[in-house]
């Protein structure tokens, strides 16, 4: 089954959602490479290359997502995996903000899908299978 890279970006240590996502995506049949918390953009890209992953799933809970995620797509392009799927989810910005502008901001950064707080794993799993054309 498809390999995916999972991790929590930047100086973020929120580990619980990450552990649940690892469990849920594994149960759903994916090969999950979980980099855990405090993961840099570079680590995401390297792991994706090394494991020949088809998607990178980035979590950001702590509010610095906007600063931390900038340039991830560009880094993928530079590394030659420019068309890898990029998902991001969590509490992406500081504070309770309207969802649509937040989503658009991350789409504009080059993410393929952006997930609001309280997304259940099943939702993301279904979409990932769809996007990858697997079942």
């Amino acid at each position: 089954m498809a390999t995916i890279v999972l991790g929590v970006i930047g100086s973020d240590v929120h580990a619980i959602g990450n552990k649940i996502l690892e469990y849920a995506f594994t149960e759903a049949g994916f090969k999950v490479v979980n980099l855990g918390v405090l993961t840099t953009k570079k680590e995401f890209v390297q792991a994706a290359i090394e494991t020949d992953a088809r998607a990178i799933l980035v979590s950001s809970l702590y509010g610095h997502g906007e600063i931390d995620c900038r340039g991830l797509r560009e880094m993928c392009i530079e590394a030659g995996i420019g068309d890898i799927l990029l998902y991001v989810g969590g509490n992406l910005v500081v504070g309770k903000q309207e969802w649509e502008p937040v989503r658009d901001k991350f789409l504009a950064m080059g993410f393929d899908r952006v997930f609001p707080p309280a997304t259940m794993p099943d939702e993301a799993i279904a979409l990932l299978k769809q996007d990858l054309g697997v079942s």
């Binding site: 240590v13 580990a15 702590y62 610095h64 504070g95």
Partner: protein, 485 residues
């Protein structure tokens, strides 16, 4: 590197200070003599140790929010607003770059915040702003202000905060490592926190009372009381050895009424027991953290979670409560939402003021089990350290004798599997390597089997996941997926 639980000499402290203060330009502004003078001129009503002592005497539960924004003026405005809303003591919550000592990134966040007019940091970058800015904050409000963060290496941050007039520092070598770091060894953080504790001890010796508060809730998610108690007490012992005289020990609400009340009662008693046994004379207060796990998306439901926490805190007789807000599930709260958390909590706490702790048979039973478990853990830690709590802690974590559920640190065994029993008390599905007696293991197993029978399923990891999501779905005990609400 080895670490031992023995008091640093002044020389050791001051030798290390040299280096620490050089790690960011604002470090050089710290002048200890001036700091002591500054503190001595401060009113007692702004000093944590004094305010906590009088709360203990009056049977009061103080209300304190979390709060921190990137820019000084905004932070002052925020704290004033929260004081107005009724906060009895205030925080300065530090941003996550500072917590990882990434002061350059914090600087970027400050500048982007100025440029965009939006907060781009999730807290107040105190190191970048420096001690002078801190004093402005302290002088803008009339209640005590505490440094709250989550910083594995908080040496510089603490220097600046203390010189800046803060009278209380949260954290500890375990509680600000295991839940807040991935790759930092316990030897390192214990040593770095010995520095902070010794510095606090030094202030105390100059006649400046500084309170310290280990971070009780850890990962905030189904941490059994005995696990957080054991860690809090170890940190208390380590702090006391360095000369800390005022300690607030914390606990994060688990959700079961009897277990939560028993936790606060036993925390105080056990801490006193262990501190006295080692000959330390310390003022102990307690802090109850309103629900630290995932919150419901809905604000009214969040008010419900907040309300239950406030009621239990007040009834348990905790000295302080840390409040959450109706924005919790979404993001850093606006000042209005933060004030709402304070006001809702304080209304309840005032209504319950003077009412006795509901000491039920269930509370008594939970107290006994918490005490028995905590003693199993602590006594093993001491044995493993051959009497040295610092060495014992390092070895105990390596062996999984100290173990925190869901923690990100690779120095944590991560073998515990907590789940709720049918009444919502946190028990252990897998006790990992906790040094529990057979009787205690059987107790946990039987409690979870009982729930399994009631729900017609075998206890397992799905139960754990259901429990993590439960509050978000409006309950305490998770229903099996697919089951009706």
């Amino acid at each position: 590197m080895n670490v031992a639980n023995r008091r640093w000499t002044d020389d050791e402290l001051f030798a290390m200070r040299e280096q620490v203060l050089q790690t960011w330009p604002t470090g050089s502004e710290v002048d200890l003599r001036d700091a002591v003078e500054y503190h001595k001129a401060m009113a007692d009503t702004k000093r944590f140790s004094k305010v906590l002592a009088s709360a203990i005497n009056n049977g009061q539960t103080l209300v304190q929010p979390r709060a921190g924004v990137p820019l000084v003026e905004n932070h002052i405005e925020l704290l004033r607003y929260l004081e107005q809303a009724g906060a009895d003591c205030l925080p300065t919550t530090i941003d996550s770059y500072t917590r990882q000592n990434k002061y350059a990134e914090a600087q970027k966040g400050i500048e982007e915040s100025k440029a965009t007019g939006r907060s781009m940091l999730n807290g107040f970058p105190a190191v970048n702003h420096g001690a002078g800015a801190c004093r402005k904050i302290i002088e803008s409000v009339s209640v005590p202000v505490q440094l709250r963060h989550g910083t594995p290496d908080a040496r510089l941050l603490s220097e600046i905060a203390l010189a800046g007039g803060y009278t209380d520092i949260e954290g500890g070598g375990i509680s600000y490592n295991i839940p807040y770091a991935k790759d930092v060894s316990l030897e390192t953080t214990i040593r770095d926190w010995q520095y902070v504790d010794r510095l606090v001890g030094w202030y105390n010796e100059q006649g400046v009372e500084i309170n310290r508060e280990p971070f009780g809730p850890l990962t905030g998610t189904m941490v059994p009381p005995s696990v957080s108690h054991a860690i809090a007490i170890v940190e208390a012992l380590l702090a006391a050895e360095q000369g800390v005289k005022f300690l607030t020990l914390g606990y994060g609400q688990c959700g079961n009424f009897a277990q939560d009340i028993a936790a606060i009662l036993s925390l105080k008693e056990l801490a006193r027991e262990y501190l006295e046994k080692d000959g330390y004379d310390v003022m102990i207060s307690t802090v109850f953290h309103q629900w630290m796990g995932g919150f419901p998306q809905d604000e009214a439901k969040s008010f419900g979670v907040i309300g239950l926490g406030a009621a239990v805190a007040a009834l348990s007789g905790a000295t302080k409560i840390i409040t959450k807000t109706p924005h919790e599930a979404h993001g850093i709260p606006t000042k209005e939402a933060n004030a709402q958390g304070i006001m809702a909590s304080k209304q309840i706490i005032n209504m319950l003021k003077g009412q006795p702790v509901p000491f039920t048979p269930e509370v008594q039973a939970e107290k006994e089990i918490i005490a028995a478990e905590t003693r199993c853990i602590l006594d093993t830690v001491r044995t493993m350290g051959e009497g040295d709590w610092a060495a014992g802690t390092v070895r105990a974590f390596a062996a999984g004798v100290l173990d925190v559920p869901f923690a990100p640190s690779r120095y944590n065994a991560g073998r515990l599997l907590p789940a709720r029993d049918s009444q919502g008390a946190v028990r252990l599905l897998d006790v990992g390597n906790l040094p529990f007696t057979q009787e205690i293991r059987d107790f946990h197993r039987s409690k979870l089997e009982e729930r399994g029978r009631m729900e017609g399923r075998n206890p397992g990891f799905q139960m754990v996941i259901d429990d993590i999501y439960a509050i978000g779905k409006g309950m305490l005990v998770g229903k099996s997926q697919g089951a009706k609400k």
